[in-house]
């Protein structure tokens, strides 16, 4: 899953970037409102973590601009502005959730998962299909009751497919969710991870639609 982190504070941004990457999210980090606009125009993100007090262009105006363009990407506001009116204004301007600084990392991650799940149209946290059960919150995967461990990259490929069962994602789309700007991409990386996933989870979970991409069947 590819996230955009909009955060002007150097220390927070730096640490959050590492922590989110450790969770296998592909994260791009920008430090002001104008850069945020640019990133949002150039790239399809699964979620935006948006600080409000930004240089050059306020977070609220970034959010309004995003919603004015009819973009539905989930937006999680992370800010120090704690007044109730500000929270209401943020949510009414199109944000999907609001966390107050200083927040707990686990809570932030849970909110990110919830928003991603909701964005994929699912309410139940665990995906199940023909004996394969996947829990994105705990990263627990089991096949016929046998627990299976996935590597970080494998997980990163599986998660976006699981997010919208039935939807076909192209190799390029999967790559985008796998790598942020800084990462080097090897040409056949996605195929390698898909191959590994099929070996672990059985051939039926991830289906190849030839010439189009990959998908996970609906539950």
């Amino acid at each position: 899953m590819r996230l955009l982190l909009v955060e002007d504070d150097l220390m927070i941004g730096e640490q959050l970037l590492d922590l989110l990457r450790a969770e296998h999210y592909a994260v791009d980090w920008v430090r002001d409102g104008e850069q945020a606009d640019g990133a949002l125009a150039a790239q399809q993100y699964d979620l935006v973590i948006l600080d409000l007090g930004l240089p050059k262009r306020d977070g609220m105006s970034v959010l309004r601009g995003l919603r004015a363009q009819k973009k539905t990407v989930p937006v999680l506001i992370s800010t120090a502005r704690d007044a109730v009116e500000q929270r209401i204004a943020g949510l009414d301007a199109g944000a999907d959730d609001y966390v107050l600084k200083p927040f707990d990392l686990d809570e932030l991650l849970a909110r990110i998962r919830a928003l991603l799940r909701r964005a994929s149209g699912r309410a139940e946290p665990v995906y199940e299909h023909k004996g394969v059960s996947v829990n994105p919150a705990t990263r627990e995967v089991s096949v016929q009751g046998q627990s299976v461990s996935l590597s970080a990259r494998e997980w990163a490929v599986l998660e976006p497919l699981l997010a919208r069962p039935g939807l076909v994602l192209s190799r390029q789309q999967l790559e985008e969710k796998l790598y942020s700007w800084k990462d080097e991409i090897s040409s056949n990386a996605v195929e390698v991870y898909i191959h590994g996933l099929r070996k672990k989870l059985g051939p039926e979970l991830i289906q190849n639609v030839r010439g189009v991409g990959y998908r996970v069947p609906k539950e």
Partner: protein, 460 residues
């Protein structure tokens, strides 16, 4: 000296013995004044009445005497001019020229047989009589009157003058009470307004319908309230800003701690610990700066305590203090011209001012750049402290805003390796303000970066 002492002793006594209430004071004074006036009026009325009764009764006595000029027969006639029970005012006696009595009032014997012609006052048996004696061709006639009668009548007249005032006195008291109470009503209104307000209610008092004695007091009080409200608001903003600003370092600390907890190998742990240490440094620096600003802002030198401070020594100390930081970044830090200069002020504050300017310059100047500090006396009235650097400078549009607390320039924030507290220049401004110094920011003509000029006044 002794006169003034006496006067102050008198004033003291006066202050102690007077009731504190204006109302009681006014009532006591007004009633006393009215009473004294009534008394004086009564006395004058009594004197005038006495004088007039004298004239009237003298005239009557004379007329009475003249009316008896005719010749009486010989022999004594006792005229029953009233009995004991109804004492008559006048006594009449007549003597023949040979001294034999002709006419005698019942109490005539009280009068001496002596006749001073015309008016005379005679004391007899403890009473004072007014006597008129007239000698005619046949007899001597004496008409007398007890002076007590005259006094009684004068007294009655005077009493009649004073009585209405005396009767009116309670009414007057009530009227005075009412007028005074009514006049002082605005005072109690103001008192109630102040008594009934909440501790944090600094809205001005209602000044409408205030008498001219009270109006200025209320206006002054409102002006004070306004100043207090301003300071209060500034304080609240400061606290709100500070609380808000503390959230960022706290968020960073929390994330850095969680980073440390999640670190899996020694290298990650070391990196996470280093970040956490930096985060703690940043948070404590912010707290230090907040405290420094809170101490400086809005304080006058009178409160902080001013001394003669040698700025040149402070400049040398500051350069030494930041030399390591500059060296670490490969910045050429130097003290240029440094005139011996003394300003009136607070040594620690001024040291902090110089230190903050140098810290800023080093922070925002790229590695390998230059930072210059100089101090020069210009004339005998001013000392100019300059800090120049070869950094990016501050755009002219931003030069006012950089002094706002927690303002960070978006351009320079991106450049600096670590974020500042956004308070450095706010503290510099607060210190400069309290020392009566002016700050100007410009582009350095020699180094191309920021040029901070602080002009201190020098008291002759």
């Amino acid at each position: 000296m002794s006169a003034s002492l006496e006067r102050s002793a008198l004033a003291d006594w006066w202050r102690r013995s007077m009731p504190l209430s204006l109302r009681y004071r006014l009532i006591i004074f007004l009633i006393a004044a009215v009473s004294v006036a009534a008394l004086i009026q009564g006395l004058i009325a009594y004197r005038n009445a006495l004088h007039e009764t004298d004239e009237i009764f003298d005239y009557h006595m004379r007329q009475m005497a003249f009316s008896m000029q005719g010749r009486f027969g010989s022999g004594t006639v006792s005229v029953p001019l009233g009995g004991d029970k109804q004492p008559f005012d006048f006594l009449v006696q007549a003597w023949a020229l040979d001294g034999s009595p002709l006419l005698e009032s019942p109490l005539g014997g009280l009068l001496p047989q002596r006749a001073v012609l015309g008016f005379s006052n005679v004391d007899s048996y403890g009473r004072q009589y007014r006597v008129f004696s007239l000698q005619t061709s046949y007899q001597v006639i004496q008409v007398a009157q007890d002076m007590a009668v005259r006094r009684r009548m004068a007294g009655e007249l005077a009493w009649r003058t004073v009585l209405p005032i005396a009767l009116m006195l309670p009414l007057l008291g009530v009227v005075v009470w009412w007028v005074v109470s009514h006049s002082l009503e605005p005072v109690s209104r103001v008192r109630e307004q102040i008594a009934n307000r909440a501790a944090d209610d600094l809205a001005p008092l209602v000044a409408a319908d205030m008498p001219s004695e009270l109006g200025p007091l209320v206006a002054e009080f409102n002006a004070l309230l306004h100043r207090v409200a301003g300071a209060f608001e500034a304080q609240q903003h400061f606290v709100a800003d500070a609380a808000h600003e503390l959230r960022s370092p706290l968020t960073a600390l929390k994330l850095q701690l969680q980073g440390l907890q999640r670190a899996t190998d020694a290298q990650e742990q070391a990196q996470a610990a280093a970040r956490l240490a930096k985060g703690i440094d940043r948070a404590s620096h912010l707290v230090d700066q907040l405290l420094a600003l809170a101490r400086q802002e809005g304080r006058s030198l009178a409160v902080l305590g001013a001394h003669d401070v040698a700025l040149d020594a402070l400049c040398r100390d500051a350069v030494v203090a930041v030399a390591d930081a500059a060296g670490a970044k490969g910045i050429d830090l130097g003290l240029g011209r440094c005139d011996a200069a003394q300003v009136r002020g607070q040594s620690e504050s001024l040291a902090m001012l110089i230190r903050n300017l140098l810290d800023n310059a080093i922070k925002y100047t790229p590695a390998g750049g230059h930072v210059d500090l100089s101090l020069r006396s210009e004339g005998s009235r001013t000392v100019v402290l300059c800090v120049e650097d070869s950094g990016p400078g501050i755009a002219s549009a931003e030069r006012e805003r950089v002094f706002d607390r927690f303002y960070r320039s978006p351009e320079t924030t991106a450049l600096a390796g670590a974020q500042g507290s956004g308070l450095g220049l706010a503290i510099v401004r607060a210190i400069a303000d309290s020392h009566g110094a002016t700050i100007t920011l410009d582009r350095s003509p020699t180094l191309g970066g920021l040029w901070v000029r602080i002009v201190f006044p020098v008291q002759a």
